[in-house]
């Protein structure tokens, strides 16, 4: 409910303003947004809402929670854009905020249960035996890409979340580890296993 209302409060791009902002360099838009310029904030929303929503949609199980999370992300962005220090690309920073938001949401959904289960073998064991399934093919068709996306979205949460953070948000293992509050080695294992699980599922499907 809160988030729904907040969504209404999120900066609405205004017609005239958007047109002015449209061609502007991201740098200057961010600069204006730092001064809490509503049009600039609206422009950032317009440019990145799809990317952010995409991440939330992959990470959370329902469209509604993804919409709520998206609006929360942009509210947070408004509040914390001052802390953005340009050391990372803006989109990456924003996706990091979004990732955090989603992980919080997942934790809340599970009421205290740890959202991301650590790999059972513990963090120390990084080498896991190679799978028999081979990596997915180089060139895949549009249908296959859709299958792959679908299969990713259906992975269990502890595989899905690190995979999405790595290959959609393009975060490093270290950053993912920080977000999920697990060891970096664990992230490596989860991603590796996640991919194996994906291969297995896709192979089963094509059978």
């Amino acid at each position: 409910m809160d988030a729904k209302r907040n969504m209404a409060k999120a900066p609405e791009p205004r017609e005239g303003g958007t047109r002015q902002m449209e061609g502007m360099e991201l740098e200057s838009v961010i600069e204006c947004a730092r001064g809490h310029d509503a049009e600039a904030l609206g422009e950032i929303y317009r440019r990145y809402v799809r990317r952010v929503f995409g991440l939330c949609r992959y990470m959370l199980n329902s469209r509604e929670s993804a919409e709520d999370a998206t609006s929360e992300v942009f509210l947070k962005m408004q509040r914390s854009i001052d802390t953005y220090d340009r050391s990372t690309p803006f989109l990456r920073w924003l996706l990091r905020v979004a990732g955090n938001q989603c992980i919080d949401a997942l934790r809340r959904q599970q009421r205290g249960r740890r959202a991301i289960v650590e790999a059972e073998d513990g963090a120390a064991v990084i080498e896991v035996p190679s799978s028999e399934t081979s990596p997915l093919g180089a060139v895949i068709s549009k249908e296959e890409r859709a299958d792959l996306r679908d299969a990713t979205a259906r992975l269990p949460e502890n595989y899905r979340v690190p995979l999405v953070l790595r290959y959609y948000s393009e975060l490093s293992y270290e950053e993912i580890a920080q977000q999920l509050d697990v060891e970096r080695n664990n992230v490596a294992t989860l991603i590796f296993r996640g991919k194996q699980e994906l291969r297995r599922r896709l192979r089963d499907r094509s059978k």
Partner: protein, 535 residues
């Protein structure tokens, strides 16, 4: 040299291998065909994964605001809707034949307490005399739902796709809400108790003087009664229509309440929504999300994780912690020394002295306290602007109605002239429709129908002033030949007079009530006439 493991190669491809390791791997790749192939394949896999994820699925391509066409309604959905509507009308017809106790004497639609009274009295009727009827009815509903389930499944199975369809959702909601025979457990009597070692696996519907849950309810708990006490655990939502609701155990979902008092001493996983006379969250109470309520008075001593929004006729006392914002509209606000608000405080009160914030109270965000001065509404330009907008809206609605349904509009206007008859009918409709809505809604399967009736009811109340205004205008102007222009002029004059009359202190309220009753009566009368075959 020994080959590298697949995971090491994967790390290297992800750019996550230490620099010296990467170099060694590179050296190895120059001589090892097998590892080179593996690294290439892993690289291609990563690319495929990135590409496929970045091609957002259609459904995720944009959030709701950017895709106004949320979902399309197919024939199947329409068919299901039609079934639901038919079902609703059968049920409402069936209810019409029942002997429902006269409601008028305890019903004054313009007072909140009148409404709650009505609601409570009605539940009492069910508790004391109506349970047998409710049970019979529930059995009927169970059968109908079974039919719905079969019919709906047949319809939906015929369509390929995942369960994204509103029809299926509607069906699921209906089933979840209305399957007394197999998804709900019903209990009624003087006392309904879920004992400490008992576990109810379904949603529990309890109708009793006193409902007490010491054990565990795994579904939702829907209660109608004088007192509801939750000392154990409700895993789903608590929906309570009771005079007193007390939660000292745990409710993991939300609380929806229409009660005289709600006391929370235990844990609530999500939010509180509803209208209560008195809301009390004591120092052991904890709300996992927020609170959105209309209350007589509220006292928050415990912890609320997110925002609190309160509309109140009385006072709000806060001595506990609110994680985010506190927004209140009401008479008075007291924040004690122990009060803590994480976000903004926003209060609308009548007098500034009614806001007392102790020095020890902490407010994380901004303080925004505004005084609503009721007397000055006539001096504010915004007031006139609002009135003008309302007025123009009413004229527009009247004009559109006149354009599209001229016959019906004129006939209804004339019917206002039948005076006492319309007034009497109007009083009946005004009082009877909410009663019927509650009766339909209480059966759960009728909930959608009830909401539709509510929408129609509110629309009819809005339209009432248009009929009366038009009639008044015509009576005063007495146009020799009623053209559409005359009709519009009449409406304008009539509405203007009614609007002005409504501002007279004390008398204004009476005028409004009279106008609503007259208009509603005329509307109902004309609807009845129009539904009769022409003679």
């Amino acid at each position: 040299m020994e080959c590298y493991s697949e995971q090491t190669c994967a790390l290297a491809v992800d750019g996550e291998l230490a620099a010296d390791e990467t170099q060694r791997l590179r050296d190895h790749l120059t001589s090892c065909q097998r590892c080179r192939a593996l690294v290439d394949a892993l690289r291609a896999e990563n690319r495929a994964l990135s590409e496929s994820l970045n091609e957002l699925p259609e459904e995720a391509a944009s959030p709701a605001r950017f895709s106004p066409q949320h979902s399309s309604w197919g024939w199947g959905d329409l068919a299901i809707l039609a079934v639901v509507l038919t079902l609703g009308s059968i049920i409402s017809g069936w209810f019409n034949e029942l002997d429902i106790p006269a409601a008028v004497e305890w019903f004054n639609p313009f007072s909140v307490s009148g409404r709650t009274n009505l609601t409570f009295q009605l539940f009492y009727y069910f508790v004391h005399g109506g349970t047998a009827m409710l049970a019979d009815y529930a059995a009927v509903v169970g059968w109908i739902c079974l039919l719905l389930l079969l019919g709906g499944s047949a319809l939906l199975l015929g369509r390929r796709g995942r369960p994204h369809y509103p029809g299926l959702r509607l069906l699921i909601v209906l089933l979840a809400l209305s399957l007394p025979s197999f998804a709900l457990e019903r209990r009624h009597g003087e006392f309904v108790t879920v004992t400490a070692n008992e576990v109810v696996d379904d949603t529990l519907v309890a109708t009793a003087n006193m409902v007490r849950v010491d054990g565990v309810v795994n579904g939702d708990l829907l209660t109608f009664g004088r007192t509801v006490e939750v000392r154990g655990t409700v895993k789903g939502d608590l929906i309570s229509f009771a005079q007193r609701t007390e939660v000292s155990g745990t409710v993991e979902g939300h609380i929806y309440t229409f009660a005289r008092t709600l006391d929370l001493e235990g844990q609530l996983g999500h939010s509180i929504y509803g209208a209560v006379q008195s809301l009390h969250i004591n120092d052991r109470g904890r709300v996992g999300d927020g609170i959105v309520v209309a209350v007589g008075e509220a006292s928050l001593e415990g912890e609320v994780k997110r925002s609190v929004n309160i509309v109140t006729g009385g006072s709000v006392d806060v001595s506990g912690a609110i994680g985010r914002d506190l927004t209140m509209i009401g008479r008075s606000l007291v924040l004690t020394n122990t009060a803590r608000i994480g976000g903004n405080l926003s209060a609308r009160v009548r007098q500034l002295k009614e806001v007392q914030i102790a020095d020890g109270a902490t407010i994380g965000g901004k303080r925004d306290i505004q005084v609503r001065v009721r007397e000055s509404s006539f001096t504010r330009p915004r007031f006139y602007f609002h009135q003008a907008v309302w007025f123009a809206g009413a004229i527009l609605v009247g004009w559109l109605g006149m354009l599209f349904y001229p016959g019906f509009f004129q006939a209804t206007t004339q019917l206002v002239g039948s005076g006492w008859r319309s007034l009497g009918l109007g009083v009946g409709v005004l009082a009877g429709v909410p009663l019927a809505m509650v009766v339909i809604a209480i059966t759960l399967v009728g909930l959608p129908l009830s909401l539709m009736v509510l929408a129609l009811y509110l629309a009819a109340i809005y339209l009432a002033k248009i009929w009366v205004g038009a009639f008044l205008g015509r009576t005063l102007l007495k146009p020799s030949e009623a053209t559409k222009g005359d009709w519009l002029l009449g409406l304008l004059v009539g509405l203007l007079i009614l609007t002005l009359l409504a501002f007279i202190p004390y008398l204004g309220g009476l005028v409004r009530l009279g106008v609503v009753c007259l208009g509603l009566g005329a509307f109902a009368g004309q609807l009845y006439r129009a539904s009769q075959p022409a003679t």
